[in-house]
Symmetry: C2
Subunit: 440 residues, 2 copies
C-alpha cells in the first residue's frame, strides 16, 4: 500500500480467529497461511491466525493442532485478537459470540445469512457502539461482490429493485428440470447425489435460505430494517415438469427469485421483499444463469440495470468473499478507519404480498364446452385483473386453458384463482406461478 506510514499502527500484527472449520473455514485457514506475504502487503501489517474453534478438537485438520480449541467464547475475547471470522452458521451460538467479540472491540466478518437476516440491527448497533467493523459480504451470493457494491458503490444512487438467483441448490434443480424434462423428485435426488443438495434440503427448496438473503439485500438496498419474517416466501417443491414445459411455450423459464422492490403506493413508499418460483422471459439476463451459479440484477435510478454474476456457494468462492472482508477489516485496524455500517434511516415499511402488483400465470383443466372461456375470463374481470395472453390446449378430457395476466394487486390475483377453483367449468387449477422480468 502506498498509504503514508505515519498514520498507521506500525507493524503490530493483526490477530485473527476463525470460528468453525467446515468447507469455508478450511479454505479461509488455507488462504491465511498460503497468502501470508500478499496479505501483509495488502493489510499493511502481518495477519496472524491466533486460533480456530471446532466442535471436535481431536479430528485431524489442515491446521496447527495447537491453534484448535472447542471454546470459541474464550477465543473471541482474547487480547491478541483483532478480528473474528464467524463461519459456524445458525443463530446461536454465533449471535452471542459475535456480540461478545464486538463488545470486546474486535471487528467481525461473518458469512451467516440466517443470523444477519434476523439480528443485523442488534449486531450493527454493537459494532457502531464499539467503533469496529461488521462485514458480511459472504452472506449473500457466495463469491459475488454484491453487499459492498450495494452499500458503497451505489451509496449515491437510489435502488428501485434487486432481483436475484441467490440459492444454488434450487437453481441447480430448476435448471436440470428445464434441461432434461425430468420431474422435481428425480432431480432433487440427483442433486443430493452430486452434493448440490443437503440431506435435509428444506432450507433451500422451501426458500428459507433465499428469504434470508432477500432480507439482507432489501435492508441495504433500501436503507431500512427488513428481517427474514418480513419476506414473503414460497419454495419450489410444487414445481412440475409440466410447469417447465408450459413456461417454455411462453418463451420463459422458471427460476426461484429473491425480489426486493421499492413500491410507490399512492405517494407512500413501501418495500416488497419476496421469494418465489416465477416465470421469466428467456431473454431476461437471469434466464441464462444455470446450475449452481448465482446472479443479482440491481436496477437503480441513475446506474440503470447492473448485473453481478458468479459462484454462489462452495468453500473457496465463499472464502474469497470472507477474505475480502477480512483484508478490509484488518486494514481498518491498521489505519484506524472503519467501513460504513448498515444504514436504516429510510425506515420504509414492508408491504404485504397482497398489495404487491404481480402478474400471474394460471394453468387449468377445464370442461370442454361452449361458454367456459367467458366464465373464466369473467372471474378475472370481476377482481379487476386483466388478461394479457390466453392459450387453449387439448380437447375433451384434456382441455386446458392457460392464462397470463397483466399486473394487478397479488390479492386480486390470488382471489381470482380461488374463485376459479370453485367454478364448475374448472376441473382443476393445475399450476399457478407468478411472472417476473417483463416491462409491462
Amino acid at each position: 500500500m502506498s498509504d503514508s506510514v505515519d498514520s498507521r499502527n506500525d507493524e503490530r500484527p493483526i490477530g485473527v480467529v476463525v470460528l468453525g472449520m467446515g468447507s469455508v473455514g478450511t479454505e479461509v485457514v488455507r488462504i491465511l497461511t498460503e497468502s501470508a506475504d500478499d496479505l501483509r502487503e495488502r493489510v499493511g501489517a502481518p495477519v496472524v491466525l491466533r486460533g480456530v474453534s471446532v466442535r471436535d478438537v481431536s479430528r485431524p485438520r489442515a491446521v496447527d493442532p495447537a491453534l484448535l480449541t472447542d471454546d470459541p467464547a474464550e477465543l473471541v475475547v482474547r487480547d491478541d485478537v483483532d478480528l473474528v471470522v464467524e463461519l459456524i452458521g445458525g443463530i446461536e451460538p454465533p449471535r452471542q459470540l459475535i456480540l461478545s467479540a464486538l463488545e470486546s472491540g474486535k471487528s467481525v466478518v461473518t458469512a451467516n445469512k440466517a443470523l444477519m437476516a434476523v439480528h443485523a440491527g442488534e449486531l450493527s448497533e454493537a459494532a457502531a457502539r464499539n467503533g469496529v467493523d461488521l462485514y458480511f459480504e459472504a452472506s449473500v451470493g457466495g463469491a459475488i461482490p454484491v453487499i459492498r457494491p450495494l452499500i458503497q458503490s451505489l451509496a449515491g444512487d437510489s435502488v428501485n429493485r434487486v432481483a436475484g438467483i441467490v440459492n444454488g441448490t434450487t437453481n441447480f434443480i430448476l435448471s436440470a428440470m428445464a434441461e432434461t424434462g425430468a420431474d422435481y423428485d428425480e432431480v432433487l435426488a440427483e442433486a443430493g447425489r452430486l452434493g448440490y443438495a443437503e440431506a435435509d434440503p428444506s432450507a433451500d427448496v422451501e426458500g428459507y435460505d433465499a428469504a434470508a438473503k432477500a432480507a439482507i439485500l432489501a435492508s441495504i438496498a433500501f436503507h431500512s430494517r427488513v428481517t427474514a419474517d418480513d419476506v414473503y416466501r414460497e419454495g419450489i417443491t410444487a414445481i412440475t415438469a409440466a410447469d417447465l414445459a408450459a413456461a417454455a411455450k411462453f418463451d420463459c423459464t422458471v427460476k426461484l427469485l429473491a425480489i426486493c422492490e421499492r413500491l410507490n403506493d399512492g405517494g407512500a413508499e413501501k418495500i416488497s421483499a419476496r421469494v418465489y418460483p416465477a416465470l421469466i422471459p428467456l431473454e431476461h439476463p437471469l434466464a441464462t444463469v444455470n446450475g449452481a451459479f448465482n446472479a443479482v440484477v440491481v436496477e437503480s435510478e441513475n446506474a440503470g440495470r447492473l448485473m453481478f454474476y458468479g459462484q454462489g456457494a462452495g468453500g473457496a468462492p465463499t472464502a474469497s468473499a470472507v477474505m475480502g472482508d477480512l483484508v478490509m477489516a484488518a486494514r481498518n485496524r491498521v489505519y484506524r478507519g472503519r467501513g460504513p455500517l448498515e444504514s436504516t434511516y429510510a425506515s420504509l415499511p414492508v408491504a404485504s404480498i397482497d398489495d404487491v402488483p404481480t402478474r400471474y400465470y394460471v394453468s387449468m383443466r377445464v370442461a370442454d364446452r361452449p361458454g367456459v372461456l367467458a366464465q373464466v375470463s369473467g372471474a378475472f374481470a370481476e377482481k379487476g385483473v386483466s388478461i394479457s395472453a390466453m392459450r387453449q390446449e387439448g380437447a375433451g378430457e384434456d382441455a386446458r386453458l392457460i392464462i397470463v395476466t397483466h399486473r394487478a394487486a397479488d390479492r386480486a390475483q390470488s382471489e381470482t384463482v380461488a374463485a376459479l377453483e370453485e367454478m364448475d367449468a374448472v376441473i382443476k387449477v393445475s399450476s399457478v406461478l407468478r411472472l417476473e422480468g417483463t416491462n409491462e
Copy 2:
C-alpha cells in the same frame, strides 16, 4: 447511519466542488441537489455544493449561477471545500488541479481514465502523503462497480485474468455489424448519427480509451504499476463485414476486448495488458453483451469467474459511480477514515505482446491447386504453431483457406502470418484476428 456519534465531526457540512459540467457533471450537480436529504443521512453530515467550474460561465446551466466559476484552480484550494470531483477529462489541467486539491488536503473523485492510466502513481502518492482519498470508480465501466470490487472485495484473493468490453462505441459498432451484416464505415456513420460515436471517434475506434481502462484494471488487479503505454493496442477500423460473417461460421462473434492477464513465464510472473478485437465463442458470457453495454469478467484463484455488467457510459450512469465515490469519500471525512489506495507492491513486469500466448484466426485467399494446404500448414509448423481447425471455402479465383491455431507465443503467430504473406500460393491474407475466451 448507525455509526456512533462520538467518533464523528458532528454535523459540519462537507463542501464539494465539481470541475466540469458536461453530461456527467450536470447529472452529479442534479443528484447533489435532488438527493440532499438522502446524502446527508448516508454521509452523516450535509453535503453542500460550493462551486462548479466551467469553461464559459455565461452559458445558462441547471445550477445557481453564483456557484459558477471559470477558475477551477481557485476552487480546489478553498477552505470550505472538502471534496473535489474532477470531470473535465484529459491530462492537463486535471492533473495539476487534482495534485493541488490533494496537497491542500481535499479528497478527490475522478472519472478521468486517461489521467489515471498515466499518472495514477503520482496522484496516489499525493493522496497518501496528505491522508486523503482518491477514488476513480467511474473511470472504468461507467455505472458498473468494478474498481471497488477489485480493490476491496477481491483483496484476499489472487486475480488471474480480467477481460472486459469496456468501450461502448466500439461495442455498439461491432454489435451492429454482427446483427446487420453492414460494413464498418456504414455502421460508424450510424453510430455518429445516434450519438454513440464522437465527431472524432479515434480514441474509441483505435482502442486508446479501452487501453487506458486496461492499464487501470491491470494495475489494481495485479497490485503493480501498469500505464497506458504498457498496453498493447489494436483498434477495430480494419474489421470487415466478412470478418463478422466468418466468425459466425466458427460459432463466434467479434468483440473489442481489454485483457489483463497474469502470465507464468517459466516461474517468473509477468502481466499482459492488451486491447484488440478478437473472436470469442458465442457461449462466452461476453458474447451477448451488446450495444453500448459494458461487462467485465474477472477470474480469480478462489472466487472463480465473476461477471459485472451494466451501462458503460452516459451522464446518469457515470454520475452514479461518481456519487458512490463521493458518498464514501465524504463519509470518510466525517468519520476521519480513509479508503484503501492503490497498491503496487507486487511490481510485476509487463510482458511484450510477442511473448504472450495467443490463438490466431487467419483467413486468406489462396491459389486453387494441389499442395497449397501442405505449404500453408508447413509455414505454421515451421514456427512451432499448431493448427486447431481448418476450413477450405470457394474454388478457383475465390478459393479461401481459414485457419485457427492453438495457443502459441504471439510472435510465432505473427511471424507465421508474415511468412504466409510472402508465399506464392497465398494470394492475400485477408484477415488476421486473435481468438479469446476458449479453454484451450
